[in-house]
C-alpha cells in the first residue's frame, strides 16, 4: 500500500506538526523503522505510524512549551524574548512585583466591563434567549390588524378562520389575547392572574410549550366542549405544590369549573417576550373567560377579543408571500362587509415573536438609556486604563531605553505593555462576570418597565462570559496601544540617564488631560443624577390633597364572575363588612382604582350658559364615605347620600361633587357652585346638580393631574363591574389586611382581591420607571466618580514620583510640608476645575435627552451643577491627600543625592 519511501498519507500530514528542525529526520527514522519491522515480518500499520508521528509532535511541542529558554548555558544567547507566550510570562512576573498597579488597573477594568456585562446579561436575557418550548422561532410570524400609523385593533375568531383559509403560506395561525382572570381552588386563596385566551392550535403553532399533559385542539374551538385549562409551571407550584400534581385538578376560572389538562414548561409565559401569562383558556370557553363580550365569540364577527396572532410559515413559504395572502384576505373581507377602518389597514405580517407594544416602546427607552450609560462608563475605563498605562510606560523609561538600545523594536517594547494589559483584562473579565451576577441579583424582582412582570433571576449565560472577555480584551488593547507606542518612543540618551527628569512634563500633561476628561464625564453624570433626584423629590412632593400613607386600597371585579344585578348587594355588603373590621376608620368605594391605569374624563356645560365651551375634567364614580376615607375636606355642600349610591340617574335627578378649582373655574367660587345644574356631554344632555365641593386632589397620574375632578355617585351613569375600596387605616396595614380578606372571602371564596397597596406605595409604583432610571444614573455616576478618583490618584502619584527632585529642592530651600501638600492639592484642583469647565456644559449639551425625564427643575439648575462639582472636589481631595502626604514626607537628602 505504502510504496517505497512513502509513509502513509495521514502520517505525512501529521509530520507538518513537527518542529521544522525535526521533520525530515523523524520521517526518515520512521521510514527506516517501518522497513526494518516489515523485513522481520512485523509490519507497522498506517494507524500506528500516524500515531507515532502525532505522539512525537505532541511531546516535542509540550517539552518546548514547558521549558523556559533560560535553562542551559547557551540559551541566553539563542532565545531572547521570542513569542507572545514569553511576553505573557514576563507580564505576570512584572504584575506580581507591583501588585498595587495590578489591583487598581484590574478593578478599573472590572468596573467598566462589569457594568457592560450586567447590561449585556440583561439584554441577552430579554432579547436573545430562546423562549422555552417555542420551536424554530425563525419560522414564526406575528400578525396584527393595523395601519402604517402604528395603530392596532383586535380581531375576531371569525376573521382568524378567514385568514387560516386564505393563507396557505401558513402552517397554522393562532389567536391569543391576555386578560386578568380569576383563579380559585379549594386549597389556596383565590387569585387574579394574567391569562391568555387562545385558539385551539395556539400551543401546536408555537411548538411544545406544554411540558406535562396536553394543550388544546380543534375541539376546544367549539361551544360546549369540556372546560379545559393549561397552567404555567409557576402557578401549578403555587396552587398545588408541584407541577405534576396539577394535572386533572379542578380550577375555578372566574367562578366556573375547569379541568387542568396541561402544565406549561418552566419559563413559558406566553407567546410574547417578557410575557407574564400563568393560565391559558381556549376560546371555546369564552362565556366563562370573557363575560365582558356579550355576543358569541365563535360566530359573531363583532366580538373581537384577539389582540395578537401568531402563525408558522409552511415549508418553503416566505414572510412576503404570507403578507400578500393576508392582503388578499383583507380585500375580500372588506368587500363582503365594509368597515370604517382606513383603506391602508391590513393584516400585517412580521417575522418572529413580537413584544407587546407598550412593553416594546418603554423597554427600548430603558435599554437605550442603559446602553448609553454603560458605553460612557466603558469610555471612562479606557481613558483610565490609558492613564495608568501611560504612567507605567513612563515609570519604565529606563528599562525601555535599555531594550531599545539593545536593538528591540518599538513594537516589541509596546507588546510587553500590551501583554500586561491583556493579563489584566482576563482577570478583570472574571471579576466582571461576578459583578454582573451581583447586578442580576439586584435587578431581580424589579420591573424594568412599569406594568411588565418583574424580572426573574437572570442567569449568567455562556455568551455573557464570551462578551465580557471580548470587551475586556478590546478595551485593554485600545487603552494600551497608543500609550505603549508613545512610551516606546524615547530619546535614548535621556532615557538612560538615571534621573530622566526632563521627560516627565509632556507625558504627565497627556495623563492630566485624560483625567480632566474623566472628571468632565463624571460631573456630567453627577449633574444628571442630581437633576433626576431633584425631579423625583419634586414628583413625590406634589400635593395629593390627602395623606396617601394612611389609606389602603384594594380592588375587586365581581363583573368577571358574572354577578350581573347581584353585584349591587355585593358592594353594599362589602362596604359594610370592611367598615366593621377592627382598625378600619372609614371606607368608601371608587369605580377607578387610585393611581392605577384606569382613567375617565367627562365634559359638561353650565346650565344657562349654552354658548360656552364645554368644560372637561377627569372623572370618577364614588360611594358615600369615599371622601371621608381619604380625608378629603368638604369646602362647601355635602357628601353623597346613601340613597344616591348605586342609583341610575336615568330619571334625571343626578348629582355631582366637584373639586374646588373646578368649581371656581365653572362657577366663580365653591359656594356659588352648590345647587347649580350642569348639562353632561355623556350621557348626552343629562342634567345634574352640584351638591358638594371638595378640596383639590390628584389621584390618577399625579404629574399630569390638574387637581380638577368631577365625582358622581357610584353606579349613577352605569353599573360598574369592578371597584376599588379605599380604607382609612387606624392601625398598621398588616393588622387590618387579614380582616379585610376575610370579609371578601366570606362573601365569595372564589373572588380574589388585587392591586392591594397603601396609596403611598401605589404612588411610588407609578414612578417605578423613573425611580429605576434615577437609581441607575446614581450608580453610574458613582462608578464614574470612582474611576475618575482612581485616575486622578494615578496621575498625582506619578507626577510626584517624577518631581521628587523638585520637591526635594523645595524642601531643602525651606518649603514646609503644608506648602508641599497644598502644591499637590492645587494640581488636583486644576484637573477638577478643567473637568468641571468641560463637564457642566457637556451635561447641558445632553439636555435634550434628560429634559423629558425632569420634573420641576430645568437642565440649567445651578444647585445640581454645584452639588456635582462639590462632590468631585471632595473626591479629588481624598484622592490627592495620600499622594500629597508622600510628597511632603520625602527626605531631601535622599532624593538629591
Amino acid at each position: 500500500m505504502t510504496g517505497p519511501g512513502r509513509l502513509p498519507a495521514p502520517a505525512r500530514w501529521a509530520l507538518a506538526c513537527l518542529p521544522a528542525d525535526w521533520r525530515e529526520s523523524v520521517e526518515g527514522d520512521l521510514e527506516e523503522e517501518r522497513r526494518r519491522r516489515a523485513a522481520r515480518g512485523r509490519p507497522m500499520s498506517a494507524a500506528r505510524l500516524t500515531t507515532a508521528v502525532i505522539v512525537v509532535a505532541t511531546r516535542l511541542a509540550l517539552a518546548r512549551a514547558t521549558t523556559t529558554p533560560r535553562l542551559g548555558p547557551r540559551a541566553g544567547r539563542t532565545r531572547i524574548m521570542r513569542g507572545f507566550g514569553h511576553d505573557l510570562r514576563h507580564a505576570l512576573r512584572r504584575l506580581r512585583d507591583q501588585p498595587g498597579y495590578a489591583v487598581i488597573a484590574a478593578l478599573t477594568l472590572a468596573i467598566g466591563i462589569g457594568a457592560n456585562t450586567a447590561v449585556f446579561t440583561l439584554a441577552h436575557w430579554l432579547l436573545l434567549r430562546d423562549v422555552p418550548g417555542i420551536e424554530a422561532p425563525s419560522r414564526l410570524v406575528s400578525m396584527g390588524f393595523g395601519g402604517q400609523s402604528g395603530a392596532r385593533a383586535p380581531v375576531s375568531f371569525v376573521t382568524i378562520e378567514a385568514l387560516r383559509a386564505g393563507m396557505p403560506a401558513l402552517d397554522g395561525l393562532a389567536g391569543y389575547s391576555s386578560f386578568d382572570l380569576h383563579v380559585g381552588t379549594t386549597a389556596a386563596e383565590a387569585a387574579r392572574v394574567e391569562a391568555e385566551v387562545v385558539t385551539g392550535n395556539y400551543f401546536s403553532v408555537l411548538g411544545h410549550p406544554v411540558g406535562l399533559g396536553r394543550g388544546f385542539g380543534a375541539d376546544d374551538e367549539r361551544a360546549g366542549a369540556p372546560a379545559r385549562a393549561v397552567v404555567s409551571d409557576r402557578l401549578a407550584r403555587r396552587l398545588f405544590g408541584a407541577a405534576a400534581s396539577a394535572l386533572d385538578r379542578t380550577l375555578a376560572v372566574n367562578g366556573h369549573p375547569f379541568t387542568v389538562t396541561g402544565v406549561a414548561r418552566p419559563g413559558f409565559h406566553g407567546a410574547s417576550r417578557l410575557g407574564g401569562a400563568d393560565l391559558w383558556v381556549p376560546i371555546g370557553q369564552h362565556r366563562a373567560a370573557l363575560p365582558m363580550y356579550r355576543g358569541d365569540a365563535l360566530t359573531d364577527p363583532g366580538v373581537d377579543p384577539f389582540f395578537g396572532m401568531i402563525g408558522r410559515l409552511a415549508p418553503g413559504a416566505s414572510v412576503e408571500l404570507a403578507g400578500q395572502q393576508a392582503d388578499a384576505v383583507r380585500a375580500s373581507l372588506a368587500a363582503a362587509t365594509p368597515d370604517r377602518r382606513p383603506a391602508d389597514w391590513t393584516y400585517l405580517v412580521r417575522p418572529g415573536i413580537e413584544w407587546r407594544p407598550w412593553v416594546r416602546s418603554r423597554l427600548s427607552d430603558t435599554v437605550t438609556f442603559l446602553t448609553g450609560a454603560v458605553s460612557l462608563l466603558l469610555l471612562l475605563t479606557c481613558a483610565n486604563l490609558a492613564t495608568l498605562v501611560l504612567a507605567r510606560a513612563q515609570g519604565r523609561r529606563q528599562e525601555t531605553a535599555t531594550r531599545l538600545a539593545l536593538g528591540a523594536s518599538r513594537w516589541r517594547v509596546a507588546r510587553l505593555l500590551m501583554a500586561e494589559s491583556l493579563v489584566l483584562a482576563v482577570a478583570a473579565s472574571a471579576i466582571a462576570v461576578g459583578v454582573a451576577a451581583v447586578a442580576g441579583r439586584v435587578l431581580e424582582g424589579t420591573s424594568l418597565v412599569p406594568g411588565a412582570p418583574p424580572i426573574a433571576r437572570v442567569p449568567v449565560a455562556w455568551p455573557v462570559l464570551g462578551f465580557a472577555l471580548a470587551v475586556a480584551v478590546v478595551v485593554a488593547l485600545l487603552a494600551t496601544v497608543v500609550p505603549a507606542l508613545r512610551g516606546s518612543r524615547l530619546d535614548l540618551r535621556a532615557g538612560l540617564d538615571q534621573a530622566g527628569r526632563s521627560l516627565a512634563a509632556g507625558r504627565t500633561r497627556a495623563a492630566r488631560l485624560l483625567t480632566a476628561a474623566q472628571v468632565a464625564v463624571s460631573i456630567a453624570l453627577l449633574v444628571g443624577a442630581a437633576l433626576l433626584v431633584r425631579s423625583m423629590a419634586g414628583r413625590l412632593a406634589i400635593p395629593t390633597g390627602f395623606d396617601p400613607a394612611s389609606v389602603l386600597s384594594f380592588s375587586v371585579e365581581p363583573g368577571l364572575q358574572g354577578y350581573g344585578p347581584r353585584q349591587e348587594a355585593f358592594y353594599r355588603d362589602l362596604l359594610a363588612g370592611v367598615r366593621a373590621v377592627p382598625g378600619v376608620r372609614a371606607a368608601g368605594l371608587s369605580w377607578l382604582g387610585l393611581y392605577s391605569n384606569g382613567a375617565a374624563d367627562t365634559r359638561f356645560t353650565v346650565e344657562g350658559a349654552p354658548g360656552d365651551e364645554p368644560i372637561s375634567a377627569a372623572s370618577n364614580m364614588v360611594s358615600p364615605g369615599f371622601f371621608g376615607a381619604l380625608g378629603l375636606p368638604f369646602v362647601a355642600g355635602r357628601d353623597f347620600e346613601a340613597r344616591e349610591f348605586q342609583r341610575s340617574d336615568a330619571t334625571g335627578d343626578g348629582v355631582l361633587i366637584l373639586t374646588e378649582s373646578l368649581a371656581r373655574r365653572a362657577f366663580g367660587s365653591a359656594e356659588a357652585a352648590i345647587g347649580r345644574h350642569v348639562v353632561m356631554a355623556y350621557p348626552e344632555g343629562r342634567v345634574r346638580t352640584v351638591v358638594g365641593v371638595v378640596g383639590d386632589t390628584r389621584q390618577r397620574q399625579i404629574v399630569t393631574d390638574t387637581g380638577e375632578m368631577v365625582f358622581e355617585p357610584f353606579g349613577q351613569t352605569f353599573p360598574a363591574g369592578f371597584a376599588s375600596v379605599v380604607v382609612a387605616l387606624a392601625a398598621p396595614l398588616d393588622r387590618v389586611l387579614p380582616g379585610v380578606r376575610q370579609v371578601v372571602d366570606g362573601l365569595d371564596p372564589d373572588l380574589p382581591i388585587y392591586d392591594v397597596a397603601r396609596l403611598d406605595d401605589a404612588i411610588r409604583r407609578r414612578f417605578s420607571g423613573e425611580l429605576l432610571v434615577m437609581r441607575l444614573t446614581l450608580v453610574f455616576a458613582g462608578l464614574a466618580t470612582m474611576l475618575a478618583a482612581v485616575g486622578l490618584y494615578g496621575v498625582l502619584a506619578r507626577s510626584i514620583a517624577d518631581r521628587r527632585r523638585e520637591f526635594g529642592i523645595r524642601t531643602a530651600l525651606g518649603a514646609t510640608p503644608g506648602g508641599l501638600v497644598s502644591l499637590v492639592v492645587r494640581e488636583a484642583a486644576g484637573v477638577v476645575v478643567t473637568g468641571a469647565v468641560i463637564g457642566v456644559p457637556l451635561c447641558w449639551m445632553l439636555a435634550g435627552y434628560v429634559r423629558s425625564r425632569l420634573f420641576g427643575v430645568t437642565v440649567l439648575d445651578p444647585w445640581s451643577a454645584a452639588a456635582a462639582t462639590l462632590v468631585l472636589v471632595a473626591v479629588a481631595l481624598v484622592a490627592a491627600l495620600p499622594a500629597a502626604r508622600r510628597a511632603a514626607g520625602l527626605d531631601p537628602a535622599a532624593v538629591l543625592r
Binding site: G28, D29, E32, E33, L71
Partner: protein, 109 residues
C-alpha cells in the same frame, strides 16, 4: 527542575542518551541511539522520549547536530546526527563527580 538543570545536572534519561551519543561518536541518530540503549541496558525507551531528550539536550547546548546524507532505506530522507559539545562533556563530568561525592564512603573511588 529549573534549579536542578541550571546547575548543569542531568536527568537519568539525559545521562543515558548523552552516553549513547558519546559511544556512537558523531554517527548517532534517534533510531541508532535508541537501539544502543536497548541493547546495552535492556531499557526500551519510548520513541517520543528519545526525541524529547535529544531536543532538550540540544537546546541546553549539550548536543550539536547536523543533517547526514539522504539514504534510500530511509525513503530518501536524511538522518539528524548528534555530537556531544564541550558543555555536554562538562555536564557529563559534573554528573559523574556529583554521583561520586554522594556515594557512601566504602564504595567511593
Amino acid at each position: 527542575m529549573s534549579s536542578f538543570s541550571e546547575k548543569g545536572l542531568l536527568g537519568e534519561l539525559e545521562l543515558l542518551v548523552l552516553l549513547a551519543v558519546v559511544r556512537q561518536r558523531d554517527r548517532g541518530y534517534a533510531v541508532s541511539l535508541r537501539d544502543e540503549i536497548a541493547e546495552r541496558t535492556g531499557i526500551e525507551l519510548g520513541r517520543g522520549s528519545v526525541y524529547v531528550t535529544l531536543d532538550r539536550l540540544a537546546r541546553k547546548g549539550y548536543l550539536a547536530s547536523r543533517m547526514g546524507d539522504p539514504t534510500p532505506e530511509r525513503g530518501g530522507k536524511a538522518r539528524r546526527l548528534f555530537t556531544i559539545t564541550p558543555a555536554g562533556e562538562r555536564a557529563l563530568a559534573a554528573a559523574d563527580r556529583a554521583r561520586a561525592r554522594m556515594r557512601p564512603a566504602r564504595q567511593a573511588r
